[in-house]
């Protein structure tokens, strides 16, 4: 029908716009200095610019649509969470961790540069995340900014993403059950996805008791995202994914797919997407992008 835009087209167009904004902003933030730190900034640029689905900044924007948060605030929070995501990929790809050569279709940072530079570039993006949130340009209210810092530090630290990565290291040959794999993934990928949605509520000064449905949405799409990732790891195309696949099985790690099988895992992802959208029932068209993202998360091929 004319005038009606499909969910997939909505995600595609908004995602491309957000990705372009993220690239432009990183380009401006990461000017290479004319001194011996040049290599460090070049490594940060290699990792941060030009790649990835930018799902997290898109989620911040989509959740911000619910509360009429400014585009500038949503973009800067999106950049902060992308800094954390990118830093975690750099460290995760290191030889001592997942030992990956390819990321977003390009050589990983320790391959394109060296391990020491990769460690430092990750550390610097980690700092940049908090610098972005602390800056008054992100939000005029210092209380909002400090709440964002608190939430992001919790989501990325040992009770969030990094804790999930530790569980992931321990997963090798540990025969985790479904409850433990679920907990692992809620920390490893879920905490940062939940932050994206929570950040919009923080900026809108919604008290935590008013965020239950948004938290439900975030939890469900976080798990659906991970199941889709596990399915891609088994069935995906390396050229499209832009990273190595089949690694979990090779490492002897239990995943949603190894525990449920392909068919039940796919079905579970579909159920989670329906649940996620049900959490948005009180919202009108302002939640359309959040709904479309939920669908996209299980339909994507990378």
């Amino acid at each position: 029908m004319e005038g009606v835009i499909s969910g997939t087209a909505l995600v595609a167009s908004r995602s491309a716009a957000v990705a372009a904004e993220v690239d432009r902003a990183f380009d401006a933030l990461l000017t290479v200095p004319d001194d011996p730190r040049a290599r460090l900034y070049e490594a940060m640029r290699h990792a941060a610019i030009g790649g990835g689905k930018r799902l997290r900044p898109l989620l911040v924007r989509a959740a911000s649509d619910l509360f009429n948060i400014s585009r500038e605030s949503a973009l800067r929070v999106g950049l902060a969470v992308e800094c954390i995501h990118v830093y975690s990929l750099i460290h995760d790809d290191l030889p001592a961790m997942d030992d990956d050569d390819l990321r977003r279709g390009k050589p990983t940072i320790h391959k394109a540069f060296d391990e020491a530079t990769a460690i430092l570039a990750g550390d610097c993006l980690h700092d940049l995340a908090f610098q972005l949130l602390a800056d008054e340009e992100t939000h005029p209210d210092p209380f909002v900014r400090i709440e964002l810092v608190k939430a992001l530090a919790a989501a990325s630290g040992p009770a969030g993403m990094a804790g999930g990565q530790m569980m992931d290291l321990e997963a090798e040959g540990a025969s985790f059950d479904l409850a433990t794999v679920t907990r692992l993934q809620q920390l490893k990928t879920g905490a940062l996805i939940a932050f994206c949605v929570d950040a919009a509520a923080i900026m809108a000064r919604i008290p935590s008791e008013g965020r239950t449905s948004l938290h439900g949405y975030a939890r469900d799409i976080g798990l659906a995202f991970q199941i889709a990732d596990d399915l891609l790891d088994v069935e995906g195309d390396v050229a499209v994914a832009g990273k190595a696949l089949g690694k979990d099985q090779a490492a002897g790690k239990e995943t949603f797919v190894s525990l449920l099988g392909v068919e039940r895992a796919r079905e579970q992802a579909r159920i989670l997407v329906q649940q996620a959208k049900a959490h948005l029932h009180a919202h009108g068209t302002q939640a359309d992008l959040l709904r479309a993202i939920a669908d996209y998360i299980v339909e994507r091929d990378r």
Copy 2:
């Protein structure tokens, strides 16, 4: 004279008290969970508890004395800066960086645990620093807390400590001149030392134009500290230092000692300490600990 306490004794007693408080606080903050993240917390505890001079928390406390900042606030800011310092040591000691087996007289984290755990433990202490600053227990005013976050992120990132570490990596065989070595050290160790003093001024809501003398003090003791470190690297005792020595020379890196010679380097450190104390002329006995720290920095043997 009775009733008069020497500078050395003052530093020794206050330093021991601060070190005990820091250890107690880390012990309480880093409770090991009963799940697969236990190893991560154990690594963080190994790195953060029981060791080091705790110079940075002591400096925060000493600068806080000038402005009657509460002990609790000074301690929590001291913990945050110590988290950054410890995380940087963990990453710096990794095989891809300085490849050190010994730190504070104990095996380094990647030796006691493994490299992946060391990377993650460093990352988690990095997050913990910002979590500590963002918490209302650190200071009741969110504006003060966000200024602390901003200052610490700047001091630890590419325009601070991590930028200095990158310069240090590039220093190998690069024949840096005195100006470049000074800049390197101002970033690598000076930025975090300056934060310690600056944090007290931020908590006291002193505008930046009123912090000139404190910044001068911090710059001078930062350089004096590094010259003393370079001297220890050449002349120190491994058993007392608790870490490997003689590394700069072995790596072909220029240092204050290689560029100035031992005698002129020692003289320069003494001049810097006198300069540092001169910056405190407007302050009375409240600045005695800061003065004593300046003396201690060049007299220490580890």
